[in-house]
């Protein structure tokens, strides 16, 4: 295993087709060693397919790449041995007990001192007392912790987590992310795909993909800056009437409605400020403030752009 490279994952022009549908299109990205890398995008954008190619589970139709210095085309079997992969769905056996599941994983990786490793994992999980319980009877949060423990059992250098917190309650999600950060400080590289914006903000760096294409990449702050968006926040009750009027303005590229707040974003800050001026006077009982867009604003904007591009590209 070569450890000289600065990147844990480095792929270029990765392409995958299912039939004539291009699921991943010329994806290039790098994940630095030891960082938590967020992988964002709407459903069906090609996140899972990309992750599967990076861990040697799928053979790309085009492009090249390395995971932990191993070629994803020719050394898939070696990659599998070095990488921990946690699938989107609970991938362990619900009719095996917690201990039997971990035992099975340990056997499959042909680990030495299997009993001891499984015991350590159970202790760390806090599941020693429940080790004989069937995995299927665990709650969503515990299933996810067990799946993570199973993925970590062979002490991988790189963890690939595919939407690990889907269907998990907020407390369990918080605990989970604390564990992720703990693992990162131990030097493990983590690539995690997610839908949640609060999780995106916990990543060191992010990529946003849609329709199989990489739309933006960088730290959360960089993404916000790159977007070139200026965002006004209007707060108050009953905003829908105002929202309709504002949307008609040409300077407004995007708006996002939250409960009692409206985010109005535009590419041109000056034009936006000018366009909003009359409304500020007409609706003085609302609170108006100018500022940076949130990550969510940026992603919704990116997604809109991608939809437009995709549709025009499709027509020509």
């Amino acid at each position: 295993m070569s450890s000289s490279s600065e990147y844990a994952i480095e792929v270029a022009n990765l392409t995958k087709r299912f039939g004539d549908k291009v699921v991943v299109d010329q994806l290039s990205m790098q994940v630095r060693k030891g960082e938590i890398y967020g992988f964002l995008g709407p459903n069906g954008s090609g996140k899972t397919t990309s992750i599967r190619m990076m861990c040697g589970l799928l053979t790309p139709d085009g492009g090249t790449g390395q995971t932990l210095g191993l070629d994803i085309l020719s050394q898939a079997a070696d990659i599998k041995r070095e990488v921990g992969y946690m699938t989107q769905r609970f991938g362990l056996y619900s009719d095996l007990s917690i201990r039997e599941n971990l035992d099975f994983v340990a056997r499959v990786y042909a680990m030495d001192q299997r009993k001891q490793r499984v015991n350590t994992a159970l202790e760390r999980l806090g599941l020693v007392a429940r080790q004989q319980q069937l995995a299927g009877s665990l709650s969503g949060g515990w299933k996810q912790r067990l799946a993570l423990a199973a993925a970590l059992l062979h002490q991988p250098q790189l963890l690939l987590l595919d939407e690990p917190t889907a269907g998990v309650d907020p407390q369990a999600r918080r605990d989970f992310w604390e564990q992720i950060h703990q693992l990162a400080t131990e030097g493990i590289t983590i690539l995690v795909s997610t839908h949640y914006m609060d999780e995106a903000e916990r990543c060191h760096r992010l990529s946003y993909i849609a329709y199989g294409r990489l739309l933006a990449t960088g730290t959360p702050q960089e993404l916000i800056e790159q977007s070139g968006l200026q965002t006004w926040t209007v707060s108050g009750a009953a905003l829908s009437e105002l929202s309709k009027q504002l949307l008609a303005l040409s300077a407004v590229d995007m708006h996002t409605q939250f409960g009692n707040a409206l985010h109005i974003s535009g590419k041109d800050p000056q034009a936006l400020a000018q366009a909003l001026q009359p409304f500020q006077i007409a609706y003085p009982h609302y609170q108006w403030s100018e500022g940076q867009p949130t990550l969510e604003d940026v992603f919704i904007y990116l997604m809109q752009q991608a939809t437009d591009n995709f549709q025009t590209a499709g027509k020509t």
Binding site: L57, L58, A77, K80, R89, L96, E100, R107, A110
Partner: protein, 374 residues
């Protein structure tokens, strides 16, 4: 191929199998149930069929005929003096399978050399139900009459043949249905459980998302496949043991051939079925479809293999389909070994098609299996 990973896989299957009590009970319960049903309930040579006599001539010969019918075992006289209408009704509503009409003055006409007719009406809606009884009737009546027509009437007795036809019913002299059905059941039961368990087992892993997790580990697809099906080979042998024991204890089915050859044939046959199961699992999307496909294959295996109906009685095209099915060849093997004492010499022409079948289906299965992974 790593033995440790294979062992991990097999161990997991055994634990799951042990936990799935219903499936486990079914795999032992199905052979027992089928054996009992087929063994005790099915008889292709039915006896004691309800018979009604419509008698217009109460004489000595009539009584002899009635006695002879009863004695043959095929006919059970339920009404020995019905009128024609009652008899026809009983035939129509299924209360009787036979109506024998003895015309008026039968005895007198016979003695006068008038060549009278007896009429036997049979419910032939199910040919198998009445066929043997009808076939036995001619000689039955002749020998009954020969007994009565002696002395001065001796010239009226039906002539005896100038030569004798000797019939040796080989391998099953008494024509006991169980001797044919019970060994045949081995093929049907193995086909059913082996195909279904493999197809369901692999499909379940894909459907529940555990397959993806498995394939992300160093375990190889071939190891997954072998690890998953190996336990079922063992179960197949347990089933064979159950069937053989019951065949011996309950039905006294003879076993004249070599047990070793039989067990070897079972191995080849199990492999053939497992390859079908793998192929099914790689073409279907969920367990329901896997179940349906298994039945789709099971049906011809029961009907066209010669298990229930005589193979040579089928039209040519059906025989061709039958020749492709592994169960057809296995039935010939197992019946040959158990009843006829066939050895390797007679067995290999049936083992060879099984091996060809395995090779072809395995190639298709592995190709398809690879595709599902991508």
């Amino acid at each position: 191929m790593s033995w440790r990973r294979l062992w991990a896989m097999m161990l997991k299957e055994f634990i799951q199998l042990r936990r799935d009590r219903l499936t486990f009970a079914m795999m032992v319960g199905i052979p027992i149930m089928q054996l009992l049903m087929f063994g005790y309930a099915i008889n292709t040579d039915p006896k004691h069929l309800n018979t009604v006599l419509v008698v217009y001539d109460q004489g000595r010969l009539t009584r002899s005929l009635a006695q002879a019918l009863q004695n043959s075992g095929y006919f059970q006289i339920v009404n020995n003096d019905a009128n024609a209408q009652v008899a026809a009704d009983m035939l129509a509503n299924g209360e009787a399978q036979f109506v024998l009409t003895i015309p008026a003055n039968f005895e007198r006409d016979l003695i006068r050399g008038g060549y009278p007719s007896l009429l036997l009406e049979a419910d032939a809606a199910d040919p198998a139900a009445t066929g043997n009884a009808i076939a036995s009737l001619q000689s039955l009546i002749q020998s009954a009459l020969r007994h009565d027509l002696n002395g001065a009437l001796g010239y009226l007795a039906p002539p005896t043949h100038s030569f004798e036809l000797r019939i040796h019913r080989l391998y099953n002299p008494e024509g006991i249905t169980q001797y044919n059905i019970v060994p045949g059941l081995m093929g049907v039961i193995l086909t059913m459980t082996m195909i279904m368990m493999t197809a369901l087992g692999i499909t379940r892993e894909v459907e529940q998302g555990t397959m993806e997790n498995l394939l992300a580990t160093p375990i190889k697809p071939l190891e997954v496949m072998i690890g998953k099906i190996a336990p079922y080979i063992l179960i197949g042998y347990v089933q064979v043991a159950v069937i053989l024991l019951m065949a011996r204890i309950l039905f006294n089915v003879p076993f004249v051939g070599s047990l070793g050859l039989l067990l070897f044939s079972v191995m080849v046959f199990i492999f053939a079925n497992l390859t079908i199961g793998i192929t099914i699992s790689s073409t279907v999307r969920n367990q329901t479809q896997a179940m349906q496909m298994s039945f789709f294959f099971l049906l011809p295996s029961i009907l066209l293999s010669g298990f229930m109906f005589p193979f040579r009685g089928m039209p040519h095209w059906a025989q061709i389909i039958g020749e492709v099915l592994p169960n057809t060849h296995f039935l010939r093997l197992v019946r040959g070994i158990m009843l006829k004492g066939n050895g390797w010499q007679e067995a290999w022409p049936h083992l060879l098609p099984l091996c060809v079948f395995i090779l072809v289906v395995l190639l298709i299965g592995i190709k398809k299996f690879r595709k599902t992974l991508d």
